[in-house]
């Protein structure tokens, strides 16, 4: 089971966390590659339906970041 890698659906705010992720990339910071990032105009756009949809589609984790 150790080589199992989770799939994590990630909703990132365009103005905040997406920028941070971008900056992390530019700064060559390392972080795990398991995130499937969906950029949203604001994390307030993330409806509970989205989170359920992610789980229903088999995501192992969901991360919402503003």
């Amino acid at each position: 089971m150790n080589d199992w890698q989770p799939k994590i659906t990630t909703f990132l705010c365009h103005w905040c966390s997406y920028g941070a992720a971008d900056l992390a990339g530019v700064s060559r910071l390392q972080y795990p590659p398991n995130f499937r990032i969906i950029r949203v105009p604001c994390s307030g756009r993330v409806s509970p339906k989205f989170i359920l949809a992610a789980l229903r589609h088999g995501s192992d984790g969901v991360w919402v970041s503003g």
């Binding site: 509970p48 339906k49 359920l52 949809a53 229903r56």
Partner: protein, 316 residues
């Protein structure tokens, strides 16, 4: 509570005659035992069809949505809180309503009664004071009403209406020392897997008839998420995952708004206790925000306000 009936008729007749309201929403006696039918009265001469007893467990607030007349409506504690929620959420204007308050000592759980008589057919159920006399073809049984209350009524802490124009009787004492969230706590103590099994079993009989949704005064969206097709959030079959999605989101949409009126459970044709979902949210709202829905017109519910001191432990 029988005496309420006469008083209700009198009030409704007066309101309709003097033009305070154009329509009056109450109940009439049902055609089968322990079922009363919501009814809309326009004509003061018809107020004698109005009826009140311990089987008025539906939530009349449902019938307010998108109405434009001046309406007289009966309201128990929980119903009045739903009316307040309706007003806060701009589904109806306070000026349109004349709320006739009913101090309520709880509604009878018709399923519990049926269970108590061994599932036999009940031919009549008459309320006499604090007792309910139930008759079938070959039995007669008398119940203390407080023993056969709907489970939400048994733990009710707001029996008297919160927003009224007129009361049909003096307020009743509120129940002391009830523990409304015992069952929630027992689920909270379970392992995730056990919890999942508990809820899967709970809803396994669900037919997706949406009676719970439609009976709920909070569910007034013009298009429910289950009916949306682009994108389609939920499949339409009775697949267990889809059923769970429906119940989960339905409950979630009631967060901070549910008054635990019990209408959803009352109407379920297969007896699912879907309050297990909403009660968890009510408990959280109470613990995290000290909030119980619909107690006041002055304050907006916790999930539609921002306060710097909001609970935010879950955010990293």
């Amino acid at each position: 509570m029988i005496q309420y009936t006469d008083k209700i008729r009198e009030i409704a007749g007066r309101l309709l005659k003097d033009g305070t309201v154009e329509v009056f929403i109450g109940y009439r006696k049902g055609t089968v035992p322990m079922m009363n039918e919501p009814v809309l009265i326009r004509d003061p001469d018809q107020v004698d069809t109005l009826h009140w007893d311990v089987n008025c467990g539906l939530n009349l607030c449902n019938y307010l949505t998108r109405r434009t007349e001046k309406i007289g409506i009966l309201a128990t504690g929980c119903n009045s809180r739903n009316i307040v929620t309706h007003i806060i959420e701009n589904q109806i204007k306070r000026e349109q309503l004349y709320i006739v308050g009913i101090p309520c000592t709880g509604m009878v759980d018709h399923r519990a009664v049926k269970r108590a008589v061994g599932g036999k057919e009940i031919l009549s159920a008459e309320q006499q004071g604090e007792k309910l006399i139930v008759k079938g073809a070959d039995f007669e049984k008398t119940f203390e009403i407080k023993e056969i209350l709907q489970s939400n009524c048994a733990v009710c802490r707001h029996r008297n209406p919160v927003e009224v124009d007129e009361m049909v009787a003096d307020p009743v004492p509120e129940q002391e020392g009830v523990e409304p969230y015992k069952d929630v706590e027992s689920v909270e103590g379970m392992e995730p897997r056990k919890k999942w099994e508990f809820f899967t079993r709970l809803i396994s009989r669900c037919l997706r008839c949406y009676a719970c949704r439609n009976a709920c005064p909070l569910c007034y969206c013009p298009t429910c998420f289950v009916d949306e097709s682009r994108p389609q959030w939920v499949g339409k079959s009775n697949d267990p995952t889809d059923t769970m999605t429906f119940h989960f989101l339905r409950a979630y949409h009631c967060a901070g708004r549910c008054t635990d009126c019990g209408a959803c459970e009352r109407v379920c044709p297969v007896g699912i206790s879907m309050r297990q979902f909403t009660k968890k949210l009510n408990k959280d709202a109470e613990e995290l925000f000290s909030w119980e829905a619909g107690l006041t017109l002055e304050q907006r519910p916790p999930l539609d306000v921002y306060r710097p001191d909001d609970y935010n432990d879950f955010i990293k």
